[in-house]
């Protein structure tokens, strides 16, 4: 019973990993069969770190922009 239970979860895991692989821009999509799970995870980690640093840089730029902006242009967006 435990082996059949783990087989099901292994397929699930492979399915989830392939879903993750689709989100990653670096991995070449034509080589779908060759990419191992560990590579997908490593790419995922580096991709998340890259996105975090992008958010940090953008937050810094926006905080500087916010400081130098006049308030009248911002009120237009308030009408959302």
């Amino acid at each position: 019973m435990s082996s059949s239970g783990s087989k099901i979860t292994e397929d699930e895991i492979n399915h989830l990993i392939s879903k993750l692989q689709e989100l990653l821009p670096q991995l070449n999509r034509t080589r779908n069969g060759e990419v191992s799970a560990s590579k997908v995870l490593k790419e995922t980690c580096s991709y998340i770190k890259r996105l975090h640093s992008e958010v940090d840089g953008l937050s810094e730029r926006l905080s500087q922009l916010l400081n130098s902006m006049d308030i009248t242009s911002v009120d237009d967006i308030l009408k959302l």
């Binding site: 435990s2 979860t9 292994e10 895991i13 995922t44 980690c45």
Partner: protein, 198 residues
């Protein structure tokens, strides 16, 4: 809500793949912009006369931190409470905000904060022990795992709330988290471009 405002259309334009992703995008955009406007008004009411360079650098850092926290908070709110990572992120932000609020209240006496940190760490240790025991009970299928999943430890640190998830939930949450991060970056980039042009 009319979509006639060209600025609004400019901000919310993007590839509308799935209904859910565009909803998150618009929710995040609205929440984040509201937070930015609120921050702007607060800055307006308290003009900072920064004479020395160090204090202006500190102010700039504080402003950056506030923008980043606003971005993360509005993203977690837009993602909804059904996601483990968004709940974990929101509780982390709120907990941190409560701690800093208490620090500002008792600026003369630093000792209570140390006590609070110890208490928080003890709670964290208890949670880890409980989860380790749970994993050991259902841990027979650990041997059948594919080899690569040893790396999941680093992923757990990156995804909010990842420490306490089982591997399936972790992978699922990671996929959603990455989608939301990409949305966040897209929206922030377009806001940045929009305001640096005008």
């Amino acid at each position: 809500m009319s979509m006639n405002n060209p600025k609004q259309r400019l901000l919310l334009s993007g590839n509308p793949r799935g209904g859910s992703s565009s909803c998150i995008k618009s929710r995040f955009t609205r929440g984040f912009l509201r937070a930015l406007i609120k921050m702007k008004k607060q800055n307006y009411n308290q003009p900072t006369s920064s004479s020395s360079s160090s204090s202006s650098r500190r102010e700039a850092f504080r402003r950056y931190r506030r923008v980043k926290i606003a971005a993360d908070k509005s993203m977690a709110v837009a993602a909804g409470s059904k996601r483990l990572w968004s709940r974990a992120m929101l509780s982390r932000i709120r907990h941190h905000q409560q701690q800093t609020w208490r620090y500002h209240r008792s600026t003369f006496n630093h000792q209570p904060i140390k006590v609070k940190r110890l208490v928080v760490e003890k709670k964290k240790k208890k949670k880890k022990k409980k989860k380790k025991k749970e994993e050991e009970r259902t841990g027979d299928h650990h041997h059948h795992r594919p080899r690569g999943l040893r790396d999941a430890g680093e992923l757990r640190k990156l995804v909010p709330g990842g420490e306490g998830m089982d591997i399936c939930s972790l992978l699922d949450e990671t996929a959603h988290y990455i989608k939301c991060l990409v949305t966040q970056v897209q929206v922030m980039k377009s806001i940045d471009q929009f305001y640096s042009i005008n």
